[in-house]
C-alpha cells in the first residue's frame, strides 16, 4: 500500500456531496452543529486566501517579492484546523499557513514583509491582534519542538487539563511531509508524549517536498508514525474542510483535556510550486495535477453549499471580497520600503550589548561622512 491509499476520514465526496466515510461517524455531530453562516465562512476563508495567494505569486513574478510559497490546494486542511482551534489556543505555523494566520487576525501584509525582505519575522505573536499565532519558521520541523515546549509550559502552569474545554489551552503545530523526515519532529513527538503535552501535530501531506515525493519520506502512511510514540493519530482528507475541522476540533479537545498529544495527517496536494523558485513540471506529471484538480477543496465546498441551497449572492459576495483583499494587498505591498538601518543592530539582543552599540555607531558615523558630498 502506498502512502496515498490508506483509509481516511472524509465527509464530502470529490463532487461535494455529503458522503461520510465509515471512519467519519464519530465526528459527524460536530459537523451537524455547524450553522449556514459557519459553513459559508469556511468557504469564504478558502476563496479569499486563494485570491491573496495568487496575488502574492503574481507580485513575486513581477519582482516585488523575493519569494512566495503558494498555499493553493491546501486551503481546506488549513481552514478546518484553524477554525477548529479555540481563540486561546496557540498556533505554530511553518511557512505556508497563510490562511491559518489570516483566520487568527494576522495581516497578510505581515507575511509579505518577510517575503519582500523588509522583516525577518513579520508580526508580534504577543500582540493580541495576531491571535496567539507564532511567526513563520523556515527551517523544517524546528517549530514542532517549540510547540511541544510551549505545550509543556501550559501543562506546568495548569493552563490545560482542568476539564474545562472552554478554558483549557492547547497548541497546534503545522508541518509537512518533507519536514516529517526531520529529527526535530521525532524529538518533538518524544517530548510531547513524555510530558503529555497538549499539542496537536498537524501534518499537511501535500505529497511533494519540493521535488521529492512523499514515498521517499516514508514507506508507510505518515499517520502511522504517531503510534510509535503513543500518540493517537487520525488521517483526514485534507481537501475536505469539514473533515479537517471536525477531526481537529475533536483531537484538540482531547489534547487540552490532559490526554496528551494528538496527531493528524491531512492528505492534500500542493497544486502549485513549492515556492516561486521551483518548477513542478520538472518533477511531476500533468496527469497527477489534473487528478488532484478534480478534488479542489474550494470547488468541493462550493458544490456542497450549493447543494444545501446557498444563494448565488453568497458566492458573488465572497468573490468580491476576495478581489478586494487581493487588490488591497497589492496596493500596500508595493509601498513597503526598507526599514531603518538601526534594525540591523537594535534587536540582536534584549539587553544592552557593547559590540552592537559600537558597530551601530560606526555605521552611523560612516554614513554621516557622506552627507554634504556631491551625489
Amino acid at each position: 500500500m502506498t502512502p496515498i491509499e490508506a483509509p481516511l476520514v472524509r465527509v464530502l465526496a470529490d463532487d461535494g456531496s455529503y458522503a461520510p466515510s465509515a471512519d467519519a461517524e464519530r465526528y459527524l455531530p460536530l459537523i451537524d452543529a455547524l450553522t449556514d453562516a459557519e459553513l459559508e465562512q469556511f468557504y469564504r476563508d478558502m476563496v479569499v486566501i486563494r485570491a491573496i495567494d495568487t496575488q502574492a505569486t503574481n507580485l513575486q513574478r513581477q519582482g516585488q517579492l523575493a519569494l512566495w510559497p503558494p498555499s493553493r490546494g491546501q486551503e481546506a486542511a488549513q481552514v478546518g484546523s484553524a477554525r477548529a482551534a479555540r481563540a486561546h489556543d496557540t498556533l505554530f505555523p511553518s511557512y505556508r499557513e497563510h490562511v491559518v494566520t489570516r483566520i487568527r487576525g494576522v495581516d497578510p501584509l505581515d507575511i509579505i514583509r518577510v517575503m519582500r525582505g523588509t522583516s525577518h519575522g513579520g508580526w508580534n505573536p504577543a500582540d493580541a491582534r495576531n491571535g496567539n499565532t507564532r511567526i513563520y519558521t523556515l527551517v523544517l520541523g524546528s517549530q514542532t519542538l517549540h510547540a511541544a515546549g510551549y505545550a509543556m509550559g501550559l501543562s506546568f502552569d495548569g493552563r490545560t487539563g482542568t476539564g474545562d474545554v472552554e478554558r483549557d489551552e492547547a497548541v497546534v503545530v503545522y508541518y509537512g511531509d518533507g519536514a516529517s523526515s526531520q529529527g526535530d519532529v521525532h524529538e518533538a513527538m518524544v517530548f510531547a508524549a513524555s510530558y503529555d503535552a497538549p499539542v496537536l501535530f498537524f501534518l499537511q501531506n501535500n505529497h511533494w517536498a519540493i521535488s521529492v515525493p512523499v514515498e521517499t519520506q516514508s514507506k508507510v502512511p505518515l499517520v502511522g508514525r504517531g503510534a510509535g510514540y503513543g500518540i493517537p493519530s487520525v488521517r483526514v482528507d485534507g481537501n475536505d474542510v469539514l473533515a479537517s475541522y471536525a477531526v481537529s476540533r475533536t483531537l484538540l479537545d482531547e489534547a487540552r483535556s490532559g490526554l496528551g498529544p494528538r496527531a493528524i495527517e491531512a492528505v492534500t496536494y500542493r497544486m502549485g510550486a513549492h515556492t516561486t523558485s521551483d518548477d513542478p513540471t520538472k518533477y511531476r506529471g500533468s496527469d497527477e495535477e489534473q487528478r488532484w484538480a478534480q478534488r479542489d477543496p474550494i470547488a468541493r465546498m462550493r458544490a456542497f453549499l450549493e447543494g444545501r441551497g446557498a444563494s448565488a449572492s453568497v458566492f458573488d459576495d465572497v468573490d468580491a471580497e476576495a478581489a478586494d483583499a487581493a487588490e488591497d494587498l497589492r496596493a500596500r505591498a508595493v509601498t513597503l520600503t526598507s526599514p531603518e538601518r538601526s534594525l540591523i543592530f537594535d534587536h540582536v539582543y534584549s539587553d544592552p550589548h557593547p559590540l552592537m552599540a559600537e558597530q551601530k555607531k560606526w555605521l552611523n558615523d560612516y554614513e554621516a561622512s557622506f552627507e554634504g558630498s556631491a551625489s
Binding site: S119, H120, G121, N124, P125, A126, D127, R134, I135, T137, V139, S142, T144, L145, H146, A147, A148, G149, Y150, A151, M152, G153, L154, F156, D157, G183, D184, E187, A188, V190, F191, S194, L343, D346, H347, V348, Y349, S350, D351, H353, P354, L355
Partner: protein, 326 residues
C-alpha cells in the same frame, strides 16, 4: 560578609539553587540531572528539593532539549539546560544557532529568549572521544548568543545566577577540569558583572590572557616566570561574547606584550579574535606581536596524548620567551 570555601561544582550547585529560589520561573532541563544529579553532580539534590517539574530529567535528545526550552521560554519560563558533554552539543547546534540565537532578532525585540545552556567543556580529565572538546568559537561566532566561562568557584556561583537573570540566551561554558578545584565564594556580594574581564594577577613584563580552565595554567606559568625574574600579568577574559576589552587593553598598554592561551584549536578562535582586536586598538603600545598558545588544529586527540595537545605552563613560558625576544 559570608565566605565559604568550596569546589566549583558545589558553587554552581549553590548558584543554581539560589536562582531557583529567587525566581519560580527558572527550571532546569537535561539528561540525568534529576535523580542522578548530573554526571558531574552539578544539580545534585535540586530535583529532590524543587520537584520534577522544575528539574526535568529529559529524554536523551539534545535538539529536543534546546527546542522545547525555546517553547518553554515562549511560555514565560527561564530554562537552564545542561548539555552532558561539550562534544554532544552539536545535535542541538541547529536549534541553538538558527532558532535560539535569532528569535529575538526575528521578533524585532518583542520576544526575549532567557535560556541558559550549561556545557562542561575542555580537557584534562582523561576522557574518551567527544568528551574533552572546546567548542566556544562556534558560539562566539553566532550573533544573538552570549558566551561566558567562569574560572573560579566565586565566579561560577555568581555568573550562573547572572546568566539566568540575563534576558538573552547564554552559553555557559564550565571548565570541567576545574570542577573540583576549591576556592573562596563570597555568598553576599557579586564581585563583577557577567560581561567583565578581570586582571587576576599584577605584573609588568607580559600580559597572559585566557579563559576558563586556562586561567589556572596561566597563573602557574606566571609563578614559574617570576622565579626566573619575569613579571607576568594574568587576565581572565570571563566573557567570550561580548568581550570586555577594557582590562585587557589596560594590561597590554602597561606591559607592551601579550600571550593568549586556550585549549581550543587556534584557527579562527576566541584567542584569534582578541589578538586581532588588541593589535587594532593598542598597536603602538605593543613591543611584540600578540602570540597565541592553543590546542592544535586537529581533532582532540586520544586522552593519552592530551598532555601533549593541551597548552601547559611550559608552552606558555616558551611564548613568553619569544615575546620578550622581540
Amino acid at each position: 560578609m559570608t565566605i565559604d570555601t568550596m569546589p566549583m561544582s558545589k558553587a554552581l550547585n549553590a548558584g543554581l539553587r539560589k536562582a531557583m529560589e529567587d525566581d519560580p520561573r527558572v527550571l532546569l532541563m537535561g539528561e540525568d540531572i534529576g535523580r542522578l544529579g548530573g554526571v558531574f553532580r552539578i544539580t545534585e539534590h535540586l530535583q529532590r528539593d524543587f520537584g520534577d517539574r522544575r528539574v526535568l530529567d529529559t529524554p536523551l535528545a539534545e535538539s529536543g532539549i534546546v527546542g522545547t526550552a525555546i517553547g518553554l521560554a515562549m511560555a514565560g519560563f527561564r530554562p537552564v539546560i545542561e548539555i552532558q558533554f561539550d562534544g554532544f552539543v552539536f545535535p542541538a547546534f541547529d536549534q541553538i544557532t538558527t532558532q535560539l540565537a535569532k528569535l529575538t532578532n526575528r521578533h524585532e525585540g518583542a520576544l526575549s529568549m532567557p535560556v541558559v545552556i550549561r556545557i562542561p567543556y575542555g580537557g584534562h580529565i582523561g576522557a574518551v572521544e567527544h568528551h574533552q572538546e572546546s567548542p566556544e568559537a562556534y558560539f562566539t561566532h553566532t550573533p544573538g548568543l552570549r558566551v561566558v566561562s567562569p574560572s573560579t568557584p566565586n565566579d561560577a556561583y555568581w555568573m550562573i545566577q547572572e546568566a539566568i537573570r540575563s534576558n538573552d540566551p547564554v552559553i555557559f561554558l564550565e571548565p570541567k577540569s576545574r570542577y573540583w578545584q576549591k576556592g573562596e565564594v563570597d555568598l553576599e556580594a557579586s564581585a563583577l558583572p557577567l560581561h567583565a574581564s578581570r586582571i587576576v594577577r599584577r605584573g609588568s613584563d607580559v600580559s597572559l590572557v585566557g579563559h576558563g580552565a586556562m586561567v589556572t595554567t596561566l597563573l602557574q606559568a606566571a609563578a614559574l616566570a617570576e622565579a626566573e625574574g619575569t613579571s607576568c600579568e594574568v587576565v581572565d577574559v570571563r566573557s567570550l561574547s561580548p568581550v570586555d576589552y577594557g582590562p585587557i587593553l589596560d594590561s597590554v598598554r602597561s606591559t607592551g606584550r601579550m600571550v593568549y592561551a586556550q585549549e581550543a584549536p587556534g584557527h579562527t578562535s576566541v584567542g584569534s579574535e582578541i589578538a586581532a582586536t588588541v593589535m587594532e586598538r593598542a598597536f603602538y603600545a605593543l613591543e611584540a606581536p600578540v602570540l597565541r598558545v592553543s590546542g592544535f588544529d586537529t581533532p582532540f586527540p586520544p586522552a593519552k596524548l592530551e598532555g601533549t595537545y593541551l597548552p601547559d605552563a611550559d608552552r606558555i613560558l616558551e611564548a613568553v620567551d619569544r615575546s620578550l625576544a622581540y
